[in-house]
């Protein structure tokens, strides 16, 4: 087993395109949940709307990708509005269920036969990324020494991290402003904030929309990184994993999602590479087949991932960056 390969492979994912998608999704969730306390379990819906709108407009109507992205952002904001108008008046737990439901509805509609001529049902959509690729500054694979990407991936990675940096900057600016303070107050007690003359509903809506639009950005990258958009990319689990990413890093911390995403994908890949190398039929077999077959090795990484998530939350419930003191204050 070659550890430098393991590490380089793990870094490739830890810093790579998937990490970018989950990082953006988690940044959106951080605004929703971390700062405002909105339990949005339907981030996948925003990703879906973003990714699908972009892909659909380019594929079906042949408009420019950038314009399509703009429309995607607007539609994500509209979805936030649509979800927000009824649900933001509800208690947090209800919002959670409604957003899960909405995500499921959105995904099933995109995958449905009825809308096949627009969204390609279960096949999804492809061939929309020409405009994006045309701007690719790289002409060949990019090798940073410890990690390398193909030409296309490198471009997505570059664009992705720039986007993330911008989003983080935005979040950082917003959350240290009085606006962010109102959000945090809402997280604690809405009625109190209302009694101080703040339009809680409007703030929540703004937060939902901004987080949703960042979710749509995640959707764009979902589509761009594989040059395809497909209903399985936006399954309910995606939101759960985005939460995982967020909480690994620490909620209500600007860089939480970034660190979380890198760690999440690094670990996931590392486990995969390690375990499959350990159980591979050829080469040195570390773990005999009677204990773990190669297929089981793939499962094992999720098993370990689940365990790791639990252990992390047990021993560092505030995440990597979180503040322990804050947790000790019981909000309930």
């Amino acid at each position: 087993m070659n550890f430098s390969d393991l590490l380089s492979g793990s870094f490739q994912q830890g810093l790579g395109t998937s990490a970018i998608v989950y990082c953006l999704a988690a940044i959106g969730l951080n605004i929703h949940f971390g700062y405002t306390g909105l339990l949005n379990f339907g981030q996948a819906a925003f990703m879906a709307v973003g990714g699908y709108t972009m892909a659909m407009l380019v594929v079906q109507w042949d408009i420019s990708l950038w314009l399509a992205m703009l429309v995607g952002l607007v539609l994500a904001a509209l979805l936030a509005l649509l979800l927000g108008i009824p649900t933001l008046r509800l208690r947090a737990d209800y919002l959670a269920i409604v957003t899960i439901a909405a995500a499921e509805i959105v995904r099933q509609l995109y995958g449905s036969i009825a809308l096949k001529k627009y969204f390609g049902a279960q096949d999804g959509l492809t061939s929309f990324s020409a405009d994006f690729r045309a701007l690719n500054p790289f002409s060949g694979p990019v090798d940073l020494g410890f990690v390398s990407w193909s030409k296309d991936d490198a471009w997505v990675v570059l664009a992705g991290w720039v986007t993330i940096a911008l989003c983080c900057l935005l979040v950082w600016l917003l959350m240290r402003s009085p606006w962010g303070r109102v959000l945090k107050s809402i997280r604690e007690d809405e009625d109190a904030v209302r009694s101080l003359g703040k339009n809680v509903y409007a703030y929540k809506m703004q937060a939902l929309m901004i987080g949703g639009m960042i979710g749509a950005l995640a959707g764009f990258f979902t589509a761009l990184k594989s040059a395809a958009m497909n209903p399985t990319f936006v399954a309910t689990d995606v939101t759960f994993f985005a939460y995982t990413v967020l909480l690994i890093g620490g909620a209500a911390r600007v860089l939480g999602p970034v660190v979380g995403a890198v760690i999440f994908w690094f670990l996931l890949t590392f486990l995969d590479l390690f375990l499959s190398a350990a159980t591979d039929d050829e080469g040195s077999v570390l773990i005999p087949e009677a204990i773990m077959t190669n297929q089981q090795a793939s499962l094992m990484r999720f098993i370990v991932m689940g365990l790791a998530l639990m252990l992390l939350m047990i021993f560092r419930p505030q995440g990597i960056f979180g503040d322990r003191r804050e947790l000790a204050i019981d909000g309930r």
Partner: protein
């Protein structure tokens, strides 16, 4: 405890007799489809034929119709051949060599004049078939149904059947929902691993069921039901373990509900993949009840298994509700739910109450999973796939309310089935979820939830 238990027992025992009944007698019933006497010709001469098989199927008969003329022509109307149906009702037209026929298109027409007295096409206007380009190197079979008018299936009959299956499913769902709600109610934990608790019950039942030998009572084989019972009990133990091993220490450390929720997501990922590790990814069936013929009651078709499962579920639900509503433990759970510190100050052993809730809640979930498995097969995701619906049910009914969870489950379960009358089947969950959202718009606190006082 004792009275509900007795009630439960009688509720369960009654339908058990049903299951033991001679429901297999029907197995060897009606012959499948029609005897295919227009059997494929055993011919290997490199030609392709058009074969029209005419049968008079009115009034459930199946008689060959002889003497009917069928013509085949090309798209331009040039005749290629014609044939008259023989004693088997078969009219056979040779189109020619495979090479020549592939890629061609034909028109096949029946001469209704030649139909025997008294027979008529099901659709009298439908006398002509235009084929697509031939792609198969085999004879081309065509039919002109001679049959009664197709009776549109009655929506009411369908609705009745949908309602019945919906009820059964709802009852199972309700147990899981109640289990989830108990845990949520007492600890405030939205347990995303609840689906895996359901799967656990199904898994144990499956393991017991796959052990060699069978478990008989009074000469009837009750292996699967016994396995479910074991699954139920084992789930209780599993719940106990869950709490003692994980949640109780976490509570003691003062871990917040959100962190616990994320831990439950981790647990769910962990358990789900472990299950797959253990049993693989396929659907499997339990050793019994996969070939039960239905009883026909009017338009309703229902099997003894469905009746039994429904009764078991209802019995358990009633027992659980009585337990929660009328016993001291029930009140204690609500008190703990409300304010654990104060409950402790009232002399309630909070940890023990929560532990009990985990035991009961998980046992309910496990039984629900096991029954799901019995009614529709086992799979490592059997509980996971139900989770969203269970959540929806609990929310719809009102978080933390006992009856709410049950009411919600029934609404969701029945709605999913009935909604297929209107929405495409592939979107059947969408319908139910839309209902959820709509209900929450009208009653944000859920159907049976209560508003909070401010100030």
């Amino acid at each position: 405890m004792r009275i509900p238990a007795l009630g439960l027992l009688s509720l369960v025992l009654l339908p058990l007799l049903l299951l033991a009944g001679p429901s297999h007698a029907a197995t060897a019933s009606a012959a499948p489809g029609a005897p295919a006497n227009c059997a494929k010709a055993d011919r290997d001469d490199g030609t392709i034929h058009v074969r029209v098989c005419l049968r008079d199927r009115r009034g459930n008969a199946n008689d060959p119709v002889a003497g009917v003329t069928v013509r085949v022509s090309d798209l331009d109307g040039n005749p290629i051949g014609e044939a008259v149906s023989d004693a088997d009702g078969l009219a056979d037209v040779n189109l020619g060599e495979v090479i020549d026929v592939l890629g061609q298109r034909y028109v096949i027409e029946i001469d209704t004049e030649t139909l025997p007295e008294g027979t008529a096409l099901q659709n009298p206007k439908d006398v002509k078939r235009t084929t697509e380009q031939f792609q198969l190197e085999t004879d081309y079979s065509v039919t002109f149904p001679i049959d009664d008018k197709i009776e549109e299936p009655s929506d009411w009959d369908l609705a009745l059947n949908l309602l019945a299956t919906g009820l059964v499913y709802s009852a199972i769902l309700a147990m899981a929902a109640l289990g989830l709600n108990m845990v949520f109610g007492t600890t405030g934990l939205t347990n995303f691993a609840h689906g895996e608790l359901m799967t656990f019950g199904a898994l144990i039942a499956f393991a017991i069921d796959s052990m060699p030998g069978e478990i008989s009572l009074f000469g009837h084989d009750y292996s699967v039901l016994v396995a479910c019972l074991v699954g139920f009990l084992a789930s209780g133990v599993f719940g106990w373990l869950n709490d003692k091993g994980l949640w109780a220490p976490l509570r003691r450390r003062g871990t917040g509900v959100i962190a616990m929720m994320i831990i439950s997501i981790g647990l769910s990922i962990f358990l789900r993949n472990s299950y797959q590790y253990l049993v693989g990814g396929e659907n499997r069936n339990y050793s019994q009840y996969t070939d039960l013929q239905p009883y026909e009651i009017g338009a309703l078709r229902i099997t003894s298994l469905q009746i039994t499962v429904f009764c078991i579920a209802i019995g358990v639900l009633v027992a659980a509700c009585c337990l929660l509503q009328f016993t001291r433990l029930g009140k204690a759970t609500r008190a703990v739910a409300d304010n654990p510190a104060l409950a402790a100050s009232s002399g309630i052993n909070v940890d023990r109450v929560i532990n009990r809730v985990w035991i009961f809640g998980t046992a309910l979930a496990g039984l629900s999973g096991a029954l799901l498995g019995v009614t529709q097969g086992f799979n490592f995701q059997v509980g996971y796939k139900a989770l969203l619906l269970v959540f929806a049910a609990v929310t719809l009914g009102g978080l933390g309310t006992i009856w709410g969870a049950i009411a919600g489950a029934f609404i969701i379960g029945i709605f999913i089935e009935l909604s297929t009358l209107v929405v495409p089947d592939e979107l059947k969950y969408v319908g139910a979820l839309v209902v959820l959202i709509v209900v929450l718009l009208i009653r944000p606190q859920g159907i049976l939830g209560r508003r909070e006082r401010i100030g």
